[in-house]
């Protein structure tokens, strides 16, 4: 079994989970921070309000003192004046206002005043014992700070003339609320993450499914069901394109395989008939109790010999074709003259041509080239042989060699029966015979000749073309590059 983390689905899932986690966590943290910042500001404003309230009531309580000092002028006193009143100890305390700064109930307020030396001037009874006043500012008039000690939030001020103030507030309930908020954020974030994971798993599965489908189909095809193809949705998505590419590959493989299968079937088919003759003749001659004369044996051996020759020719052609096909062991090339090679092919078919009253007319200027003369001989034996053998008699076969600096062209044209348009594209196919007839299937007629000729010429870098009209004749044109490879 596959390890889970090797599967794409799992990998997608893991990365998806990680990214989703980071995003949700960042969002929750930001929300948490913002909420607390907001809360802190509200608390600070509340502390400032209480501070103002305290001073207001202090000033009101000591109004008489201030108006006396200011010669009856009513104005808001400076902090220094308030400080002095502390220093002098003549301060009147507004009892009512001080009620707000008492007790230890949740959310209580407290205050404390100190002088430059750190001596406590006044503090509410609920103020904590440890109070850290701000140091005195160096030059400028005042320094202030908000700070949090444990569950206490304080606003501290210090003035350059020595007056130091702390107003504090118990924020226990706000802290608890903050924690609750944190937990609920965490919980909803986790919930969101889980839903995201499930969605991701589903999405990854959905994305993977076509791949699994493709892979299953491809496996079935690989196991031998070569006619099956991957279904394409026709959406031209990336996977569809992949499917098309795969299908195309399968088509090509199948075609090659089919071609190979056909070739093997054809080859064995061609071998069956001569083999049957050999078997049946040898069996017949082996039988006892039948009077035979020398002629009977002679005839039988001739049949056997013909069959064996056919088989040999076929096997040789197949072997040559196979070697030419995979470019195996290129045969040695020598300097030769194409004119001489074609001349030999013509001589080989001269006798048959004469009996059919076919005139062989050749125009062969010298044409030196570097190639394998045996292979070229096979090609032109086939081309010239076909022209003569398929000729209905009484006619002309013209062989014309021309060469330019770039190419050598050999034209072989006859005024024979021609090739039908249906047969024309197939005549280079292996084992294809235009007339389907084996009645003249003597030793040289395997249906491989043109296929072999074409393969040889192609391997030399050239080509064979054919044009033909029924009952008017055919022209085969072999074109070779001047510098042949083979």
């Amino acid at each position: 079994m596959k390890r889970p983390f090797q599967s794409i689905r799992w990998r997608i899932q893991v990365w998806h989970g990680l990214i989703l986690f980071i995003a949700i966590a960042a969002f929750c943290m930001t929300a948490y921070q913002l909420a607390w910042l907001n809360q802190s500001r509200r608390i600070d404003r509340e502390i400032q309000r209480h501070e103002r309230q305290l001073f207001k009531s202090l000033i009101e309580a000591n109004e008489s003192y201030f108006s006396e000092r200011n010669n009856g002028n009513k104005r808001i006193p400076f902090p220094e004046e308030l400080y002095q009143i502390f220093e002098t100890g003549k301060i009147q305390l507004p009892e009512e206002a001080l009620n707000e700064f008492s007790g230890n109930a949740s959310g209580y307020y407290y205050f404390a005043f100190a002088n430059a030396d750190g001596e406590l001037l006044l503090k509410s009874e609920n103020a904590p014992d440890q109070l850290s006043f701000l140091p005195l500012p160096d030059e400028v008039g005042m320094q202030e700070e908000f700070r949090t000690h444990g569950n206490l939030r304080e606003s501290a001020h210090s003035f350059n003339f020595g007056f130091r103030i702390i107003i504090g507030h118990d924020i226990q309930s706000e802290l608890e609320e903050k924690h609750r908020f944190g937990w609920s954020l965490g919980a909803s974030g986790s919930g969101l993450w889980l839903i995201g994971l499930l969605g991701g798993w589903w999405l990854a599965g959905k994305a993977i499914r076509p791949i699994q489908f493709i892979s299953q189909t491809a496996t079935r095809i690989a196991e031998g069901n070569l006619n099956e193809r991957i279904n394409t949705a026709g959406t031209d998505s990336e996977l569809d394109q992949l499917s098309h590419v795969l299908n195309h590959s399968f088509d090509r493989l199948n075609a090659i395989l089919e071609q190979q299968r056909q070739f093997t079937a054809d080859a064995s088919h061609e071998l069956r008939t001569p083999l049957t003759i050999l078997l049946s003749e040898s069996q017949r001659m082996r039988k006892r109790g039948i009077m035979r004369n020398a002629e009977d044996y002679q005839e039988s051996f001739e049949l056997c010999h013909d069959a064996a020759t056919r088989m040999r020719h076929l096997v040789e052609s197949l072997l040559l074709l196979a070697r030419q096909d995979d470019g195996y062991a290129p045969l040695a090339t020598v300097d030769c003259d194409l004119a001489t090679i074609i001349q030999k092919s013509i001589k080989l078919h001269q006798a048959l041509a004469e009996t059919k009253a076919v005139k062989l007319q050749a125009e062969l200027p010298n044409c030196p080239l570097t190639a394998n003369p045996d292979l070229l001989a096979i090609v032109f034996n086939n081309l010239v042989g076909n022209a003569v053998q398929h000729h209905q008699g009484n006619g002309l076969v013209q062989i014309k060699l021309t060469h330019s600096p770039n190419a050598i062209i050999v034209n072989i044209s006859d005024d024979g029966p021609g090739i039908s348009t249906e047969a024309l594209p197939r005549i280079f196919d292996r084992f294809y015979r235009a007339d389907l007839s084996r009645s003249d299937a003597h030793a040289g007629h395997s249906g491989l000749g043109l296929a072999l000729a074409q393969t040889i010429i192609r391997n030399m870098g050239g080509k064979i073309e054919v044009s033909s009209k029924l009952s008017q004749g055919s022209t085969f044109t072999a074109t070779l590059p001047t510098s042949s490879k083979t």
Partner: protein
């Protein structure tokens, strides 16, 4: 028994004909489907050996055109041994099927079996007046003693035995037992009949003058 071999390969055609002739059949040949169909339509033959791959008309087409009117047994020869081909052959009306390369003894045995089946005789042995004819082995014996006969003599005797009680005309015998290349010298049949009488006894075959021969 007269057989038509329809095969386009000249070598195989000659070889098959020679084999069948030596086995005592009268054999005619056809080199392509058209010729084969023309000859087979005469209705002279006891069986056809039909190749599938042929020019002009292939084996299937010959069989299709032949089939409704002619019930002659047909043995198909093919180079392709795929199952669909066999099914096609049997569906088209072929009676038997052989794949090249085949054993010529098997071909002969199957042809005999086909002919026997269509003549309604499922038994391969026939007994006549103490003479035992084994059509499978093509032998004749009396009291377990084999009697030597030439192929033509045997064919003649077997044909008469298979039509026991009927008077078989000389022309029918020529049609059935001699092929188109035989010089039908009118006394050739008489020579065979007199040879048979010498070997088996004078009374075994009776002559109905003007009508033909008969085994009572």
């Amino acid at each position: 028994m007269r057989i038509l071999v329809i095969e386009d390969d000249p070598g195989l055609r000659r070889s098959l004909s020679a084999t069948l002739k030596e086995e005592g059949f009268a054999v005619d040949q056809a080199a392509d489907g058209e010729e084969g169909l023309f000859k087979a339509s005469e209705g002279l033959y006891d069986a056809l050996v039909l190749d599938v791959m042929m020019p002009k008309l292939d084996g299937w087409q010959v069989l299709e055109q032949l089939r409704p009117q002619h019930t002659v047994p047909v043995l198909m020869l093919t180079a392709r041994d795929s199952v669909p081909d066999r099914i096609k052959g049997l569906n088209t009306g072929a009676d038997d099927y052989l794949t090249k390369p085949f054993d010529s003894d098997e071909l002969v045995a199957r042809l005999r079996a086909l002919i026997r089946r269509t003549s309604g005789k499922t038994q391969s042995q026939i007994e006549i007046n103490g003479l035992l004819i084994d059509t499978a082995r093509r032998s004749l014996s009396k009291d377990d003693q084999e009697i030597e006969l030439t192929a033509r003599e045997y064919s003649l005797f077997e044909y008469l035995a298979l039509h026991r009680g009927e008077v078989v005309s000389r022309s029918l015998l020529y049609e059935r037992l001699f092929d188109e290349n035989d010089n039908s010298l009118s006394n050739l049949l008489d020579v065979h009949v007199s040879n048979l009488r010498k070997k088996l006894g004078a009374n075994i075959i009776t002559t109905r003058r003007g009508h033909g021969y008969c085994i009572e």
